[in-house]
Assembly symmetry: C2
Homo-oligomer: 196 residues x 2
């Protein structure tokens, strides 16, 4: 197994954030790169694909040092789900393995947080977007009760440092910073064995 598809993705997104671009253009560009990354499932190190028995895990794959973007593997064990939460920055979700179900939420005229639109089911290769512009509050579940699912997320910040919110059914919200489940990230940069 080679992590070079992940390296190629990191390089492409770094080049993208080096350019000035409006959010819609940026999302379109990163979406195309992410679609290419999740079109194959032969590059994620096993160490970053392990579920936790009690709760989902978020493993950092790469953080831009200027915190313009970050890439994580989001790993659900059987039947696990997130609380209703927001992001405060743009995000793209590329389904790698298994399937997940996402339900968007928004405030109604009475100030209540309610589901909007049908739940969406993501299958391997699918890519979806969130952002404060597009709709930023959702709840995501593993579609399966009997196996893990994994999606690759890209956020427009270091998501391990972003102050954001979890929403309770009664409409109240609590602050959180998600952090990361791993203390080591893959070394993508040994190119000594490449043929020239």
């Amino acid at each position: 197994m080679s992590t070079s598809p992940l390296r190629d993705f990191v390089v492409a997104v770094t080049r993208e954030v080096e350019r000035d671009a409006a959010e819609a253009q940026r999302l379109a560009a990163v979406r195309a790169h992410l679609a290419r990354l999740v079109a194959r499932d032969d590059w994620l190190p096993d160490e970053l694909a392990q579920p936790h028995p009690q709760h989902y895990r978020q493993y950092l794959l790469h953080a831009d040092p200027l915190e313009r973007f970050s890439v994580v593997s989001f790993v659900w064990g059987p039947g696990q789900r997130t609380p209703v939460h927001d992001h405060t920055v743009w995000g793209l979700i590329g389904m790698l393995r298994g399937e997940e179900v996402a339900q968007n939420f928004a405030y109604d005229a009475a100030g209540c947080l309610v589901p909007t639109g049908p739940a969406q089911r993501l299958r391997p290769g699918d890519v979806e977007a969130v952002s404060p512009t597009l709709g930023d509050i959702h709840q995501v579940s593993n579609a399966f009760d009997d196996r893990s699912s994994i999606s690759i997320h890209v956020y427009g910040a270091n998501i391990g440092a972003v102050h954001r919110w979890v929403y309770a059914p009664d409409g109240t919200r609590k602050p959180f910073v998600s952090g990361y489940s791993n203390t080591w990230v893959p070394n993508l940069w040994d190119r000594s064995k490449e043929t020239t």
Copy 2:
């Protein structure tokens, strides 16, 4: 132990390589950041400080995704040394732990590679430079036969991908790409526990 001094260094050097600068200005800026990093020895993870019984090790600490710079911990076991070698890009060597001895080489008028100037001894906190402009060929040794020494190197490229040279005593040279001793690098980016 916190790796945050390494993160601060990576951020500072990334900001530096984002600016246009002549080599002398770049080296002066990075030298100041590296001097600050090696002024303390409380941040290098133990996993990246382990010597190998037979040969020195080069652990990647961070690679810029656009390969404008890389940072490594260079770990000598007792009595170990490098062959005579070059870099082809600028490099800065900051002594972290123990001591090392560096001898520069250059070609003389007859085309022979000969030592130039006295050997230099680096002590914790010292920073030295190499580059094709300043003198790029040297041999470096652990100053000690009875313990490890560690220096932190910054190069103006992904040194795990640079095609460079090792020089034999008879003046012939062989190509090499150094690669890295580690397949995982530290996750510097979990800021969820920081107080705001």
